[in-house]
């Protein structure tokens, strides 16, 4: 059965702070058994957002997109509601979350569910590196925010 809440985190776990999205999902996975008030939550991860991920939005009540941000101004994280947008990411194989929402609207001929973007600031994206100390700190802050987001109905 499709869970009403989807959290989609993406990034390459082998590239330092690029792993922030999947790392947040791991943290939520570890916590969710003791938080039944969150309800049913699907946790999905991938390297990048792709066109077919639009189909993962189907049947959801709300969606949280989680990515690492290379912008220092986002520290410790930036959370905002997002809308479908036909942006230039369509020229790459990796889409933006707004682009994924746009594809959903094109394919389903209906608006996508409400979506929020959580961008967690990272600093180092080198191959083979673990999360940086700053990213760990940002992850803790983002995790606290996500728990609050999950608790709101």
């Amino acid at each position: 059965m499709t869970a009403p809440t989807l959290i989609f985190g993406w990034g390459n776990p082998s590239r330092g702070d690029d792993a922030l999205g999947p790392a947040l999902l791991d943290a939520i996975e570890a916590l969710r058994a003791s938080h039944p008030q969150w309800g049913e939550v699907d946790l999905l991860t991938d390297f990048q957002l792709q066109v077919e991920h639009a189909l993962d939005l189907e049947g959801r009540r709300r969606v949280l997109f989680v990515d690492a941000s290379a912008s220092a101004g986002d520290a410790p994280f930036r959370a905002e509601a997002i809308q479908p947008a036909r942006d230039s990411s369509f020229t790459s194989h990796a889409l933006s979350p707004q682009g994924v929402m746009h594809v959903y609207a094109e394919i389903k001929k209906s608006p996508p569910p409400p979506c929020t973007l959580l961008a967690i600031a990272g600093e180092a994206f080198e191959l083979g590196e673990p999360l940086s100390a700053a990213a760990r700190s940002h992850l803790d802050a983002a995790l606290a925010w996500t728990q609050a987001w999950l608790t709101t109905s």
Binding site: N12, P13, S14, R15, D18, L44, T45, D46, F47, Q48, Q50, V51, E52, A54, L55, R86, D87, S88, S89, F90, T91, S92, H93, A94, G99, H102, V103, E106, I107, F125, L127, G128
Partner: protein, 496 residues
Amino acid sequence: MRHQFELETAKNPDALKRIVIEPVSRVEGHGKVTILLDDDNQVHQVRLHIVEFRGFEKFIEGRPYWEVPVLVQRLCGICPVSHHLAASKAMDMIVNGGILTPTAEKIRRLMHYGQMLQSHALHFFHLSSPDLLFGFDSDVAKRNIVGVAAANPDVAKMGVLLRKFGQEVIRVTSGKRVHGTGSVPGGVNKSLSLEERDYLLKDADQMIAWSRDAVRIIKQLHKANPALYDAFGNVPTTMMSLVDDKGALDFYHGALRARDRDGEVIFDQVSYQGYHTLLTEGVKPWSYMKFPYITTLGEEKGWYKVGPLARIQNCDRIPTPLAEEERAEFVAYGGAKPLHGSLGFHWARMIEMLCAAETIKDLLLDPDIMGADLMATGPRREEGIGVIEAPRGTLFHHYRVNENDVVTYANLIVSTTNNNTAMNVAVRDVAKNYLQGHEITEGLLNHIEVAIRCFDPCLSCATHALGKMPLEVTLVDASGREIDRMTKDSEGRVGK
């Protein structure tokens, strides 16, 4: 016959204008094209530079061998399963000499053909069809998958759902949609349940039908404009791929076969275990990536192409009926000679996607995929080589493991590396035919990217990130004075 490395090195580079297309990609690597022009916009030098995965080989060394099939998936966001399975095949050699149970081999094949289906769907529908449907220099705002969705909604939806099905085959066989752990040294760690089999089987016929439609689309495009499709990036080369012991197409296992540019067999049924004596990994001072060639033919004549266009023309037949019918038509279109136009990759690719869809159905109907015998045992070794036909071509993984089970050596030749010289030559051919003597525009530069995308979306995703990453192309004269500039911002708007 013109020299194959024409335009690789200009005689007087310091006196020429330089165009650099330098995109950035976070995962797959970093590609850059440099073009040197004289004052009349005559092309003197074209180089495609790609950052190689050498860092990843070092990253693997020192790791326990059983971690490697999972680790290497992180090389690529588009075809992680190909690396997963090539590494698994190499590690099979380490743990048992390469033996698999029928269930393990068929589960891996199912996973791999799912990978082939999803990657080919992405490559054709999402990355290449906008160029092919709208034109290489059409409105850049429309030239993308959403433009296709608006103009051809059925085509776009078909592409999305084909890729989704391939991803589902991967998820069911590997346990996860990404970073799956289904394949392990010596076998697999799960087979399919009846419910999983039926879940996939219910959509299999639809995927075959859509794959046939996809072949029709590219075939019609090709036949509607043969002057373009046959000539664009036409680079006659040697072709190399795996074939099975009867010469048929096989994406998972086989021996190496190569044909020359005229289709004559150079070698056949050569074990890939000796790849390092068969191939030499040449180097050039201007690129991080190596330039492999067939050792006995030498650097001048031994370079080759891999991937769909090579595979379809190297094999004697395709084992599934509908794809074989299409292969025969493809070969007949070329007459007595192989097709070498780079856009032919797309036609061949869609035939392979049809083969993958048919094979997936055949495997789903095979009871062995629900078997319980998952692992085989055999003598331990210290060296393993695994080869697979990845979506974009032959992929080599080679490892040595010490008595403490730690990897001490890793060498990967990825499909992009195998195609390195052929891509460079194709890009030069396109630059000479389309840029020569013209004012450089975004549309003309896109011709270069179209040529790269025929071979490889991993690289073309980097070049295609033009639209995502702000791009600035600057022409500078020999004294360093800027004489022209073109920009593309993060929203894809082009300006001067």
